[in-house]
Symmetry: C2
Amino acid sequence: MKVAWIGTGRMGAAMAARLLSRGISLKIHNRTAAKAKPLITMGAEWADSPAIAARESSTVFTMVTGPAELREVVLGPRGVFEGLARGGILVDCTTSSPGLAAEIAARGEEMGIACLDAPVTGGDIGARDGTLSFMVGGEAATLDRVRPLLQIMGQTIVLQGPPGSGQHTKMVNQIIIAAGMVAMCEGLVYARAAGLDLARVLENVSHGAASSWSLTNYAPRILRGDFTTGFAVRHYLKDLRIALDEADRMNLCLPGLALAKQLYAAVAASGGQEDGTQSLVRLLARLSGRPWESTGPG
Amino acid sequence: MKVAWIGTGRMGAAMAARLLSRGISLKIHNRTAAKAKPLITMGAEWADSPAIAARESSTVFTMVTGPAELREVVLGPRGVFEGLARGGILVDCTTSSPGLAAEIAARGEEMGIACLDAPVTGGDIGARDGTLSFMVGGEAATLDRVRPLLQIMGQTIVLQGPPGSGQHTKMVNQIIIAAGMVAMCEGLVYARAAGLDLARVLENVSHGAASSWSLTNYAPRILRGDFTTGFAVRHYLKDLRIALDEADRMNLCLPGLALAKQLYAAVAASGGQEDGTQSLVRLLARLSGRPWESTGPG
């Protein structure tokens, strides 16, 4: 199976590297060519555009920043759909909008190209370890054809429904994380203000009803004073915008999601766009007049 | 070691039952005597007041509704401190206020009684299975004396600091759960509105960055339409009030906690006081004009 991979940022590069390490030959393209270098060293072949990468492939993966970039690399000039032949498969792993996923699938159907929206959860750790969770929208038969590839990158692969359903499921995932991050960061701000030893607090609260992936993975980084990504605030804000747009379209009242979006907007406004999502704790500490940095690492 | 147990509600009864099953002889008292019946059948001895239960005991556990009830059973007429002799130990497992814990410990010190605040997390499941997490405030030497008893009921036992530190840690725990429950319920409301199959969604989101104890334990109950406790809304509201009072005293800005409190106030106002905390999903669904019940169990 000839495979193309478009988008070699943090997540895309880690996922593509797993395919390469299992002997899959990849044609790759990325907006910023330099970021593709490590994959080329591993044996991937560079293509000058998504169309060129797609031309000699039967399956194309895309993993780009968001809906605008996805529209460009799939539907735009020199995009995937200019190169991919009839009978080809597009698997989009970008976290993007359900509406765009449906639009791409409809266009693909006209051209004889089968499309899946297949965003992932599990973070940079999951991408490296091949333990991602794939949320898939599209046809079962299409999924069956690419399942062996997805299994190299992920442990959980679930067909959620028609095109867009994978993106909707990813929005559910991001909504659950949103106010959950607010909750975790508020707990840590309270703990420090109360004069508790944060490491000891985590021993307790990580073993009960407050336990979560976020607490296990982000709280220790916060205690070390590590606010690098992980998952960058600007990417998360993009996801929250899509989720709020979709919720608004459905007339849903989701006050926790709206609050989280506003708080992350404030994180970004104060220069934290490239920081990891765990840096929310610094905003909340500052709002409480107790800057996180000034009081030492706990 | 002669042990008294005051407060045999859902959590207290389950914890006391574990002590009885390990051959510890218990004197028990409860405001509503009927709720103590099953423990008496298991061999516990009824006492007509906390003072009487404490009189012949060296260690007294309290597990009552909240600060008002705790003040009454410890410091009030016919309370524990009227019965417990010099050299005795009071272990309070109630979720209560840090200030009251410090007040009780100070009064105890005057009377030669050592006091621990030792609230728990892990839910009704943890209480039955003996996997609770104890958050302890008080003296290390006192904790060492009662540790063998706590180990019958819990897996994690952490001394957090001076009197009140156990309660502060429990507040951290409840704060993390607060907006976390909002997040989980909003995710489920979105999922249903988007036409997704909720069981399939959980397969995905339970295996990634959105995973949590709440999601694992409450989402399946929600999908079955089970809104019974678990943990009753009125108890949780009491905890959120304590957390907000403490946060206010420290001038903290915790908007997620405040939002969760307001939403749970609305759940209670619409008659849901005795429902489990997972019933928040019904409020959010109703606010979005999509009553949870009307659309079937997903």
